[in-house]
């Protein structure tokens, strides 16, 4: 986000300025094509474009496509047209360690936009339930780990490859389902009697052609939420590699990190370069290794993203040890809310693999009745062993 774009005032004409603006939006992660540039120019001829407020109002419906983009648009507009080309929302701390410079390339810019509420790295800032009581905010700041950790130190290239293979297999086990009801199909496992009888009328009641039906594919959408709080640090390596693998093998999957906040990392993990994807993710997960607010994070998820992305054909995968600083009721309520959307919930807990482990931690005990599957997963081998269970679910 801190990229300095071309100075608007030095551009030769309105067309060049507009394409500069669209390029600026594109740099900041909005998906726009050439057609939008033309449309935007066209739109400005129909309004009094010299007045900034009017131009802003006219450009917003054209250049944005969803709520998140519409919320970011104002800052981006100001950045380009009002500040002589400099993006305003520069929030990197001044005392940033120089050693990590490679991570903060322009490609990671989206992750740095931690300016205000509702942005990429602070989706639950401000008005969320987690923050509303005042007390919660204080605890969150106290326990948040302000030291930025680079996740690339944790994950190695070859591990990603291994994790990708496991994730692809697990993804298949979860995802590739068939519908319950059969539909007419050219090739199918059953005969379509009704159609055969109906079509046999044409041949005088003689069933000359046989029609089939089969259960069509109904892919399940996978949503993974990974806990990266302090207590999970030892397992983060496995889980992050697993997430990266899952996202790369399944184009519809969706991923989030949470510690004291919830962060969507789907876009970052879609990066073609696996290591760069992890780099982007580490920018988004600042505060990694701090405290955990599972209840608040899940509640946040259920109230926002889940409403749009989770339905009866979804599986929600929670990777966490269940040690929560929120009261257990919050976690139970959030899971109940999530379950209401008709999805299946799977909780993978690294501690369950331990001998004598019993889910007596308040949060975990409260969560149990809402889970479809509660399984152990601490290493890649554990995850791989889950395949038959997931396929049965």
């Amino acid at each position: 986000m801190s990229r300095v774009t071309r100075f608007a005032a030095r551009d030769p004409g309105p067309a060049a300025r507009m394409s500069g603006f669209v390029a600026h939006l594109r740099e900041n992660g909005l998906r726009l094509g050439v057609a939008e540039t033309a449309l935007a120019l066209d739109a400005l001829t129909h309004v009094s474009a010299a007045r900034p407020e009017e131009a802003r109002r006219a450009l917003r419906p054209i250049c944005t496509g969803c709520k998140e983009e519409a919320e970011r648009f104002d800052a981006l507009f100001d950045g380009f047209w009002m500040d002589a080309g400099r993006v305003r929302t520069r929030v990197m701390p001044a005392s940033k360690a120089k050693g990590h410079d490679a991570v903060h390339s322009s490609r990671d810019a989206k992750g740095e936009a931690a300016g205000g509420a509702g942005q990429a790295t602070a989706p639950d800032g401000g008005d969320g339930a987690a923050e509303s009581d005042g007390e919660g905010r204080l605890i969150a700041t106290e326990t948040r780990n302000l030291m930025r950790k680079d996740l690339r130190d944790l994950v190695r290239q070859e591990e990603i490859a291994a994790a990708e293979a496991v994730a692809a297999r697990l993804g298949q086990a979860l995802r590739d389902r068939r519908a319950r009801r059969r539909r007419a199909a050219r090739k199918g496992d059953r005969l379509h009697f009704r159609k055969i009888i109906r079509q046999s009328l044409a041949t005088g009641g003689e069933p000359v052609r046989l029609f089939h039906r089969k259960r069509p594919d109904r892919a399940v959408r996978i949503t993974a939420l990974c806990d990266v709080s302090g207590s999970m640090t030892v397992y983060a390596q496995v889980f992050l590699a697993f997430l990266a693998g899952l996202m790369r093998s399944d184009p519809t999957a969706d991923a989030y990190l949470f510690h004291t906040r919830l962060v969507r990392i789907t876009e970052a993990l879609r990066d073609r370069d696996a290591m760069r994807a992890i780099g982007r993710m580490s920018l988004m997960a600042d505060g990694f290794g701090g405290g955990s607010k599972i209840g608040a994070s899940l509640e946040r998820f259920a109230a926002t993203y889940a409403r749009r992305l989770v339905d009866g054909r979804s599986v929600v995968l929670i990777l966490s040890d269940g040690y929560d600083t929120d009261p257990p009721e919050a976690l139970a309520a959030a899971l109940a809310k999530l379950k209401k959307r008709g999805c299946r919930v799977i909780w993978l807990n690294p501690l369950k693999g331990w001998r004598d482990y019993a889910p007596i931690a308040g949060g975990m005990a409260a969560a149990l009745p809402h889970l479809d599957l509660f399984a152990a997963a601490g290493t890649l081998a554990d995850l791989a062993a889950l395949e038959p269970e997931l396929a049965r679910l």
Partner: protein, 291 residues
């Protein structure tokens, strides 16, 4: 015509449009693009189309989407029964072959459904495609084609071109994520719950009889209620019902009678859990703050 003019016309229809919305609707008209309205339930997305049609003096054609909606219900269907009767009648009259076939696949036997009806109007209508996110992805892809070309191919008849291009309003409230292609094709506006001033203006436009003091209290109360933890947040229609209920009961001050106020909450809270959570104490606290 400017967007202020449109805003004024819509106000005449009893719809208070914010500047952003009016501008988006104005652009939809001049750029001939569909508009996608997103927002929580009850912020008046559907009402936009109705008010726009009223302001333009255009016909409103509505396509309500639901899971399993398919092309035949959205575009056209052949009138099978009538075709069968015609075939029977024709065979009794000794008429066969090509002539009958041509006749039964003519315009006469075509049942128009909303999308086809919308492109064959003499005057540009407003086409409202309501809750597009409830329809299947297949239908969404199909709709994309219709919206970009504004022509419909009926295999037996040929391609029907649009006589006029309708003003297309799509609404969604996030049951499912829409495809990027559809979002790109449309202008986009997110409608949120109105701020205090706008909501007061809406209340005055819809219930002209309400006193200024009560109006202020009603809006303040509903806005405070929206900030509570609720399963179903009350929308604008609920606010209007609430105001109407209070007026019908002859209440001039929200804080005057706690029992009556509590019983009128039925117009605002639509789930059992919410009704249980908003107790008399909560109501009084909110009413006290609003007063």
């Amino acid at each position: 015509m400017s967007f202020q003019q449109l805003q004024h016309d819509m106000a005449g229809e009893g719809y208070v449009a914010t500047d952003d919305l009016a501008m988006a609707l104005h652009l939809m008209d001049v750029l001939e693009r569909p508009i996608l309205l997103e927002g929580p339930a009850g912020v008046g997305k559907t009402e936009v189309a109705r008010a726009l049609a009223g302001a333009r003096g255009a016909k409103l054609i509505r396509l309500q989407c639901y899971e399993g909606l398919d092309a035949s219900q959205a575009i056209y269907e052949w009138n099978y029964q009538r075709q069968l009767l015609t075939i029977r009648a024709a065979s009794e009259a000794g008429e066969t072959g090509r002539a009958v076939e041509d006749r039964i696949f003519s315009e006469e036997f075509l049942l128009e459904r909303p999308l086809l009806a919308a492109i064959r109007q003499p005057k540009p209508p407003v086409l409202l495609i309501d809750e597009i996110d409830r329809a299947d992805e297949e239908f969404e892809a199909f709709l994309l084609e219709v919206l970009s070309e504004f022509q419909i191919t009926v295999p037996e008849l040929g391609t029907i071109h649009a006589t006029t291009q309708p003003l297309v309003v799509l609404t969604a409230n996030g049951t499912r994520d829409l495809s990027d292609a559809l979002r790109r094709r449309c202008l986009y506006t997110y409608l949120d719950y109105p701020d205090r001033e706008t909501e007061l203006a809406i209340l005055r436009a819809r219930c002209p009889g309400v006193e200024a003091r009560l109006a202020g209290q009603v809006v303040g109360f509903v806005q405070a209620l929206r900030r509570e933890e609720l399963e179903k947040v009350p929308g604008i229609a609920e606010m209007l019902d609430f105001a109407a209920a209070l007026m019908g009961l002859g209440i001039a001050d929200l804080t005057s009678d706690p029992a009556v106020l509590q019983s009128t909450l039925k117009t605002l809270l639509k789930t059992q859990v919410d009704q249980a959570n908003v107790t008399t104490e909560v109501t009084q606290r909110l009413a006290g703050r609003a007063a």
